[in-house]
Subunit: 346 residues, 2 copies
Amino acid sequence: MKKKEEEKTLNDLGEFGLIERITKSIKLTNKSSEKGVGDDAAVLNYSNKKVVVSTDMLIEGIHFDMTFTPLKHLGYKAVTANISDIFAMNAYPKQITIGLGLSSKYTLEAIDEIYQGIYLACQKYGVDVIGGDTTSSINGLIISITTIGEGNENEITYRNGAKENDLLVVSGDLGGAYMGLTVLQREKEVWKSDPNMQPDLEGHDYILERQLKPEARKDIIDLFRDLKIKPTSMIDISDGLASEIFHLCKESNVGCQLYETKIPIDPSTHKTSMEFNINPTVSALNGGEDYELLFTIDQSNYEKIKNSIDLTVLGHITKKEAGINLISNGDVSTPLKAQGWNHFNN
Amino acid sequence: MKKKEEEKTLNDLGEFGLIERITKSIKLTNKSSEKGVGDDAAVLNYSNKKVVVSTDMLIEGIHFDMTFTPLKHLGYKAVTANISDIFAMNAYPKQITIGLGLSSKYTLEAIDEIYQGIYLACQKYGVDVIGGDTTSSINGLIISITTIGEGNENEITYRNGAKENDLLVVSGDLGGAYMGLTVLQREKEVWKSDPNMQPDLEGHDYILERQLKPEARKDIIDLFRDLKIKPTSMIDISDGLASEIFHLCKESNVGCQLYETKIPIDPSTHKTSMEFNINPTVSALNGGEDYELLFTIDQSNYEKIKNSIDLTVLGHITKKEAGINLISNGDVSTPLKAQGWNHFNN
């Protein structure tokens, strides 16, 4: 007797059956995607553009906790987190490959959900899935994504171009993703001590979305083109503002003055931070996964951005010798510390 | 007191320290590698070439067994297995990104050994390491490699171009990697039942090297250029000859006659196969990881290859309706079965 579709298992389907299942709905949309899934490798045509490449690996229990991460959101976030690196080059993501390792606890429906999230993000950001590798794992879920993007030679922005007197600018607001994680972890502890308790997530919609379903800032890259701005340096905020400022300053061989009062923090991030007795500035400086863009621009561009509600000038670049300093609310200057996310220490 | 270098742990070094340690020796060698490690993404220039991309994921306990896999070999094999996919497109690998997940049992020295193997393979095949992601894992070691290569439009070879009367050709010999694995697994069982026993690997050098340190067939791609041959279709043998023949025939919409007597099997593979009571043909058909190239050529090219000691004509392509058949040593034709490696069933 033939099993019904929904009763099929990973074993019934086999490796090639699974590949067919998860790739059948792929449609290539980018001109540069000549051949996608289905051969030994994909073939791309980037004749007049630079090729920009980035890789991220996400591992269950390290980067995400399945007890509170919806699978579709996980797939979505895996894509947005990775393409954020391409936007941080002032370039556009065009293709991704997906390495997926799955333990036997994952059902076909679970895999479908992950891919639904992946495809949704790809559709939103105009990215083609062109290949990958799907395999079993001993423990848990592993997602490794490589994004390939295109950039124009005169637009690609590195970390190393910041110069004295440039303005330090950030998109969106900071610390929300970390506060969302903190709430989810608290509710998990409550649930562990009493599985009959319902999680209390009310009023935390914004920070939960920041943690579970972050977006990448394509709109900011579009804005640069509209405003005819080329940042002098740029990085995306995946490890916390402080850590990223250190990267920019180190690579550019400069110092920086950062004004605490300028750091954009959403009211709900602020409120939750206070509830947890964490200084909201600390959440913004050291909380990770905001996927906002941090960049520097020449002062002459200030007029162009000053009315943008989604961009905030945080401070300015100084000589290297002046160091990297946080000017506190009380106007006291202290050397900034970059704690950030260290996957081997945290 | 400062710890000595060799006593440093992963925790002392931290994520960025580790990245610096494993990337400091990288030198970019390819013209197409404009910017490698050190920014949000790498930047490549492929202005006159097609970009060819492939991704592989290797997971401890699934794809390799640390009890008998030297780490340096593992790094080497992770690269050669992946770049083999690029050669299978009749293209040349130029860059790789490496996603590495490591559990706490791995020391810094272990990581260094893996990278030594990775860099050795990259050096041998002219490939630049341009980026990656290094993170901790809950369990064991995960290596995900994406290779980017360059191909000329008129040379790139897909799986779908085989046509009736083409010759089916394979490089090297088959089944060795599988027999090497079989010997290693036997010795592991012996060692588990009596840890004082020394593994008996004598006389198995060739098949052990096929399993632990396989090469990719760049030389065959070079040969195609020397001989001015463009294969009509090509695939690399990672899952076993039978499985790959099925892929070529399915994609090309053709059938195939494969002659058992023609399948190239090294004497040591043959001998070991007999010791394990496995028909050597079965080892060649269904054993994986040989990383040889299987391709089809127009009959007019036969004269050019007939004296190449490293190429063997295995059979020929037929109409789809004739099916995919193995002509046995006794001249009996039976439909070929593709068992291959199924990572979800085996």
